[in-house]
């Protein structure tokens, strides 16, 4: 796969970090229409790049034949973003804690920790036929 496919609320990219900025542009473009505050927008943008980067690097192992699909689902109460890869999944319990002393100076391993800190809810769906969906949920603040 070499092309980026854009649909109304979906973008599909090849498994290369070269496309991270395109995903960010797509998501921020959609989210700006919702008039989120600057912090919410940044939290979502950071989390999306973490999830997409993980899908490319750890999920699809940068295999150019595999794709990463991002879906955006919004309603009045929340924003939900799904990032799907075609990888074999992973063991959530095996992730090292990045804030322990022995891991503090490691250059990698903070992505999911940061996503969980910034999002209101994070779900991992490991599909039996292969592929992982990471579902990021941010509840919208009442603007009264």
């Amino acid at each position: 796969m070499t092309k980026v496919i854009r649909r109304k609320n979906q973008i599909i990219i090849p498994s290369s970090q070269l496309y991270l900025a395109k995903v960010d542009d797509f998501v921020e473009g959609k989210l700006r229409k919702l008039k989120l505050d600057k912090n919410q927008l940044a939290d979502l943008a950071i989390s999306v790049t973490e999830a997409v980067n993980n899908a490319i690097v750890h999920g699809n192992k940068k295999d150019p034949e595999k794709k990463v699909t991002l879906r955006l689902i919004c309603d009045k109460s929340c924003i939900c973003i799904e990032v799907e890869d075609e990888g074999k999944g992973f063991d959530l319990n095996s992730l090292p804690c990045p804030i322990t002393e022995e891991n503090l100076l490691k250059e990698v391993g903070r992505g999911i920790f940061i996503v969980r800190s910034l999002m209101d809810k994070v779900d991992f769906i490991f599909k039996p036929e292969g592929g992982t969906i990471v579902r990021l949920t941010k509840y919208l603040k009442n603007k009264e």
């Binding site: 970090q17 900025a21 980067n53 250059e107 940061i114 800190s117």
Partner: protein, 112 residues
């Protein structure tokens, strides 16, 4: 992300602008930091005033720069840390690792 560099009193000042999220942008910052180390320039300030946000890749680059500088007898300091990046440094406890300053001048002055 765009990256400019300058020097003040022998201290290298890096000024990234935009978002640091991985991919070619991140490689640019990483390579620049290591280029200075190879030139024997080991006192570096990263001015984060114009960085909208960074993700864990950006934090990893800062750590890589910091540890490489320290291993070579130098130091990497952060200036103008925005609220969003401050929050990420706090969440990840990296705030305990980096020296941060409210301005580039303060950061540069701290090397003396």
């Amino acid at each position: 992300m765009k990256l400019t560099t300058r020097e003040d009193k022998g201290i290298v000042i890096l000024e990234p602008k935009g978002k640091i999220m991985g991919g070619p942008d991140a490689t640019l910052l990483h390579d620049k930091l290591h280029e200075f180390i190879s030139q024997g320039k080991k006192k570096v300030v990263i001015d984060l005033a114009k960085v909208d946000w960074m993700n864990s890749t950006g934090l990893g680059i800062l750590i890589s720069g910091l540890t490489t500088m320290r291993n070579n007898g130098g130091e990497l300091k952060l200036a103008n840390v925005t609220e969003k990046i401050q929050s990420l440094l706090t969440i990840t406890k990296l705030i305990t690792v980096f020296e941060t300053f409210e301005s580039v001048d303060q950061a540069v002055g701290s090397f003396n």
